[in-house]
Amino acid sequence: MEVAKKKFKNHPLVAVIGTGAATDTIALHDREDLTWLRSTEVAAKQACRMANVEPGQVDFAEVHDCFTIAEICVTEALGFFPAGKGGEAEAAGETALKGKKPVNTSGGLKSKGHPVGATGIAQILELVLQLRGEAGERQASKARIGLAQNMGGSGGSAVVHILKAL
């Protein structure tokens, strides 16, 4: 901590306060519910327990929106919205930059890009910029706790991190 404070004395510090990882079947036909990303749900619960935060206390998030439907399913599995309500919430602007739960302020995979291996790093970078208040034009008004969700194999594996501005 002292080293970090010295090295980054011109920036607010950011800490990883929770992490979780989980797996699911690769084949969609093996999943009980085709619209539910169980690996994301389990990873998020682990990360929230470790960080001692509820999904409602997360101010903003970067999620793996490899397709439009993926972002909707992920925001539901993370516990931001009830199952089946993620699409309506997004259409109503709740996940927009000025909404109550900004999602993918970076543009996300579909707008910013999806270089696979670097996608997760880019999510953490966006979280850090937002938490430091250095995101410029796309700065979210409240950014104290941020969440990053990444996945592969149509949700066959998922990883969630929760970061906090100190």
Partner: protein, 132 residues
Amino acid sequence: MSGITARYWREIPRRYRGEAVKSVKTGKVYFPSRLVEPGNGNRKFKPVKLEYSGELLTFTIIRIAPRGFEKQGPYALGIIELDGGGRITTQIVDVPLEEVKIGMRVRVEFRKISDDGDEGIHLYGYKVVPER
């Protein structure tokens, strides 16, 4: 398509004959077969043959087909819930694309999947057609 090897021959029991297993503990059908049941560690299964009829759970239209399937596109690909348990992902054929509907009844048929060029062997497996 290339490299028709043991990896392909090993698939024959399930691709040609629909061989699956049923959990003695939960009664759930697993296809392809498994040695251990997820969630409870059960290792007791009995062999079963898939029932070749079912209902279309969901589908998509593949317009940009992957290598080996270029000549077949556009085609419908879907997930089928089989009557005797178990699900398969396969092509829905012998039906105009606009007539493919979620919930439609289908029958599993033995079909050619692809071939290994002019001198290669044909690869067979299952596809579904509307029940008439």
